[in-house]
């Protein structure tokens, strides 16, 4: 079974040379730590920066240079700042190659819910609805089950949707899964996790074809 860093490490392998990547808050943010350093990748943050670098050294924080999680950041050579409409032109106009975000629920048809729990948590969708409605390549990073132990990979979402039929791939603490027209297709198992365990933790239709390899991380 993977921890959050393990999930991020596996997703980092999906990041290819020349990609512009938008990382959501939480596990997705960790992905930046594991991208190979022999490829060129630029991270976009929807509040208005392309070419995000690591956190600043203590004492170098600048209130005017933050990411979408409101964290102080730095920029790398070649970086740019821009307004919010331009930022979402990059996103809606499909100039961003890969979007990695978290989710509360994903359905076997690719629907995603990650912004609202009626009566409990209403913080808002931020840029998530724009991202999932537009991106061609969306990877969801999440735990396979919620705190109560219930599956987050469902036949259909129970929470208010963020987007419809948009998720292509899911990387969890247990597995790598592709969303296909027929349902969740199991691609890889996390180290030490059996197909049976993944099946048990997946409420939606899980397609298991042949031998399922263990993830190479």
């Amino acid at each position: 079974m993977l921890d959050k860093n393990g999930i991020a490490k596996r997703i980092a392998k999906e990041v290819k040379d020349g990609y512009y990547v938008n990382l959501g808050i939480g596990i997705p943010t960790l992905v930046a730590n594991f991208v190979r350093d022999d490829i060129e990748v630029e991270f976009q943050s929807e509040n208005g920066v392309l070419g995000m670098g690591p956190f600043p050294f203590e004492g170098d924080e600048d209130a005017d240079v933050i990411n979408a999680g409101k964290q102080t950041i730095t920029t790398l050579p070649g970086a740019s700042f821009f307004d919010s409409a331009t930022s979402f032109s990059m996103i809606r106009g499909q100039h961003v190659d890969l979007t990695i975000l978290g989710a509360m629920e994903v359905a076997e048809n690719g629907d995603i819910a990650n912004w609202k729990i009626p009566g409990k948590m209403v913080k808002g969708m931020g840029g998530a609805m724009d991202l999932v409605a537009s991106a061609e390549n969306i990877i969801v990073a999440m735990m396979h089950t919620n705190r109560a132990g219930d599956s987050k990979l469902l036949k259909s979402c129970t929470l208010p949707l963020t987007g419809v039929g948009c998720v292509k791939k899911i990387v969890t603490n247990l597995a790598v899964i592709e969303v296909t027209a027929e349902g969740f297709k199991l691609l890889e198992r996390a180290p030490g996790v059996s197909v049976e365990e993944i099946q048990k933790a997946t409420e939606g239709h899980l397609i298991i074809e042949g031998e399922i390899p263990e993830m190479a991380i």
């Binding site: 943050s45 929807e46 509040n47 208005g48 920066v49 690591p54 956190f55 600043p56 050294f57 203590e58 004492g59 170098d60 924080e61 600048d62 209130a63 005017d64 240079v65 933050i66 990411n67 979408a68 999680g69 409101k70 964290q71 102080t72 950041i73 700042f81 821009f82 307004d83 919010s84 409409a85 930022s87 979402f88 996103i91 809606r92 629907d111 209403v122 913080k123 808002g124 969708m125 931020g126 840029g127 998530a128 609805m129 724009d130 409605a133 537009s134 208010p160 949707l161 963020t162 987007g163 419809v164 039929g165």
Partner: protein
């Protein structure tokens, strides 16, 4: 040169009244019009509709207007980090319209650019699209969203001049340029008001035509919400 300079914040927000609709630049606490917000708190105008990506935190930003119950309705994309906001929303005192962040930016830009409405894929198939016109283009579904209408837009820039030209800094730029000229009156506050002619015309982010009033703000706190650092090795 058409002079947009006003003496201070008091003069800059002349004309604000109860029940008006305001737009505020800023993302989180970055690039928010601190001086205009402080003055609105002082004036205690009520029944406001506020268009802003976020709602500040409990004791800063738009949170200050919330504390005094000056806001009737918030139009935002993300409103976490604010207990008083949550309390007023759950008790029904505060009306809240949550919209996608890119839609918020584009509704401002549409108002600035003279477009009454536009189609976006964001929110299609979700509760955000309920009751809205939808349409298919090239096999994909889109939602019709309308330009904002507001009485005042409160903008924060880094540098500006009396002609109303603005230059922004870092990610404090965010919604500020998109909201310039999107309301009936755009009030820009800047950290530094420089002599006309000092800003390079090639480097101006927002031309003065989109700004009605400009002043140099005082005492920017520029509070950091999440101070994240790495250790020097």
């Amino acid at each position: 040169m058409i002079n947009k300079k006003v003496a201070n914040v008091t003069e800059a927000i002349q004309g604000v009244r109860d029940n008006m609709t305001f737009m505020f630049g800023g993302f989180g606490l970055s690039g928010i019009p601190e001086n205009a917000i402080a003055e609105l708190v002082k004036l205690n105008v009520k029944g406001l509709t506020c268009i802003s990506n976020n709602a500040g935190v409990d004791d800063f930003g738009l949170g200050l207007l919330l504390q005094q119950k000056q806001i009737k309705k918030m139009i935002s994309s993300y409103v976490g980090e604010n207990d008083e906001f949550e309390r007023q929303m759950l008790s029904g005192e505060l009306e809240v319209e949550l919209i996608p962040q890119g839609t918020l930016a584009e509704r401002a830009r549409a108002a600035q650019a003279g477009f009454p409405a536009f189609y976006t894929p964001a929110g299609y198939g979700t509760e955000v699209a309920e009751g809205k016109e939808t349409r298919e283009f090239n096999g994909k579904m889109y939602v019709l969203e309308h330009a904002f209408k507001a009485d005042f837009g409160f903008i924060k820039a880094w540098k500006g001049d009396a002609a109303g030209n603005l230059v922004f800094k870092g990610t404090a730029r965010n919604f500020n340029p998109n909201m310039c000229g999107a309301a009936n009156i755009t009030v820009a506050e800047v950290e530094e008001l420089v002599p006309v002619g000092e800003l390079d015309p090639n480097q101006i982010h927002i031309p003065g035509i989109f700004v009605q009033r400009i002043f140099e703000g005082a005492h920017y706190e520029k509070r950091i919400e999440q101070r994240t650092v790495r250790q020097r090795s």
